[in-house]
């Protein structure tokens, strides 16, 4: 579904800051219906890579194909969920969820019907007419998820979607996400800082390292599916523990490298969300 070949991206120098190689020779293939998580320390290029797949960021070299077509900009087959929700504060939940459909010219009746389906799916019935300012963080992200699913994308791109939420909400939404995904089986690329989250949700974990940003290792997660009904016991299983331990060892090594490298500031452009 997603073919990333030889992707390079550098952010140009500004005064006082050297040019940053955000991505170097990145190759990755994501199969249909796969749930891939991308994990790595700050500055490893994971957000840049996701945004390149989304078509928001031009790449210097290489090619990205989604569903067989070359990526040159945003497209209807890819939808994104943002870390800070990016909901329109002046529109209610219904209008926000229907946003992508409205941009495509779907009629009011059809898009409200579709939006209502998604609102039911993410468990926000009764809140259709609330404004985002009246919702908790977890609820706002459900709206973000509903909005992305409403356009029936082939690929769902999620940029640390639970990063701005507290632990309990995060765990609840992880369960919900897996439950919804196991029903729809969209292809998902999910960025996270958390090893547990990466292993819990993904079929494969793509580990990236910074300076310059590149893929360090891709690890299979052989935990069986479906997982939604028993995430807690998955977390306690021996396999889960051993994979996360392995990831932590690799990550810790990468963190040390970062501390010892010369230019110790975050890459520009990766912290725009």
């Amino acid at each position: 579904m997603i073919e990333i070949h030889g992707v390079n991206k550098a952010f140009p120098a500004r005064k006082g800051i050297e040019p940053v190689q955000a991505l170097v020779d990145v190759d990755l293939t994501v199969d249909d219906n796969e749930f891939v998580t991308i994990l790595g320390p700050s500055g490893c290029g994971k957000t840049t890579l996701l945004r390149a797949v989304a078509g928001l960021v031009p790449i210097d070299a290489g090619e990205i194909h989604v569903d067989g077509k070359l990526v040159t900009g945003p497209g209807p087959e890819r939808a994104m969920v943002f870390q800070n929700f990016a909901l329109l504060p002046w529109s209610n939940v219904m209008t926000n969820v229907a946003f992508g459909l409205q941009l495509r010219g779907v009629s009011k009746r059809d898009r409200e019907q579709k939006a209502m389906e998604l609102i039911e799916l993410v468990g926000l019935v009764g809140f259709e007419h609330r404004l985002p300012g009246e919702l908790s963080g977890g609820m706002q992200q459900r709206v973000g998820l509903a909005r992305a699913l409403a356009v029936e994308p082939k690929v769902l791109l999620m940029d640390e979607p639970f990063g701005a939420l507290d632990e309990q909400t995060r765990r609840l939404l992880q369960e919900e996400l897996i439950r919804i995904w196991e029903a729809t089986r969209t292809t998902v690329v999910f960025i996270t800082h958390s090893m547990e989250e990466a292993v819990l949700l993904g079929d494969r974990v793509v580990l990236m390292r910074p300076r310059p940003g590149r893929i360090e290792e891709i690890i299979d997660v052989p935990l069986s599916r479906p997982r939604a009904t028993h995430l807690d016991s998955v977390e306690q299983s021996g396999e889960f523990v051993s994979i996360t331990a392995r990831l932590w060892e690799r990550l810790r090594g990468l963190q040390t490298d970062v501390r010892h490298s010369r230019s110790a500031h975050p890459e520009p452009g990766s912290m725009t969300t």
């Binding site: 943002f82 800070n84 990016a86 946003f99």
Partner: protein, 270 residues
């Protein structure tokens, strides 16, 4: 089992309601102002400074005088036309400056000049080129108010969360979609602020141009009352002008609240 006596409970809530009412504080402020004014002017026999009571008597007299209302009509013509022009020109200019760097680079110099320039100084120049008449008064009203409209509209566009613009692009928004769905609604509160501030300045411009050179309407009346040593009528007239401004600005605020109901105003210490 104790019960509260109903009467004491009832009067407490009435007292509470009076204390919480905004009008109480406005009346108090006004009363203090009036008292200070009256005391300050009590001893003086200054021909140019009326006492509060004299002004208070002149006020309803003026309100009922058809001469005053005719003057208001003449003056407000310039206000309506000039302010409408200021909004119709200023908002689009400000929006374009906020979004497109080329527009900003081109016009920024002029805006900065207009921000610091005392527009009143331009009035004689205006009259030499455009003459006495509605046109020059309208131009002065525009010059007084348009800068605030432009600057606030520009700020309004600039402070729209870039994440929202990016989100819209992700979902396939064209530039036109971005304007309609993100930039305009996002900038609306700031635009309305600019309109409100611009309105205040437009009213100032309306009166000043009449004071200085084009002697019609309210400005003419101000000059007349000064020349005839009728300071209580002069002050009462000024109060009428201020009241008109307050009414118009309250109207603008009301529209602001209706147009952008999602805006929360934070920060009051309870």
């Amino acid at each position: 089992m104790t019960t509260l006596a109903p009467s004491s409970n009832g009067s407490r809530t009435i007292l509470r309601r009076i204390l919480d009412s905004a009008w109480l504080y406005r009346l108090l402020a006004f009363a203090i102002f009036g008292a200070v004014w009256q005391i300050a002017t009590l001893g003086s026999k200054n021909l140019l400074v009326p006492t509060f009571l004299e002004t208070a008597i002149a006020f309803p007299q003026l309100l009922l005088d058809p001469v005053v209302w005719r003057a208001m009509l003449i003056s407000n013509q310039a206000l309506v036309v000039g302010f409408a022009a200021a909004i119709a020109l200023g908002i689009p200019i400000g929006l374009l400056m906020g979004r497109y760097r080329a527009a900003e680079r081109f016009t920024n110099v002029y805006i900065n000049i207009m921000l610091v320039m005392p527009v009143a100084a331009l009035i004689p120049l205006m009259l030499m080129s455009v003459g006495i008449g509605l046109a020059s008064r309208v131009i002065i009203v525009v010059l007084f108010s348009i800068t605030m409209v432009i600057v606030n509209s520009r700020t309004g566009v600039r402070q729209v969360d870039p994440a929202l613009i990016e989100m819209a692009r992700c979902f396939g928004a064209t530039e036109r979609d971005i304007w309609r769905r993100v930039l305009l609604p996002g900038a609306l509160p700031a635009i309305m602020t600019g309109v409100r501030i611009g309105l205040g300045r437009a009213i100032t411009g309306m009166v000043i141009v009449e004071l200085l050179l084009v002697s019609v309407g309210l400005g003419n009346l101000v000059n007349r009352f000064s020349a005839n040593f009728q300071p209580e009528r002069l002050y009462a007239l000024i109060i009428i002008i201020v009241l008109e401004a307050l009414v118009l600005i309250s109207l603008a605020r009301w529209i602001e609240r209706r147009a952008a109901p999602w805006v929360r105003i934070a920060g009051f210490r309870e």
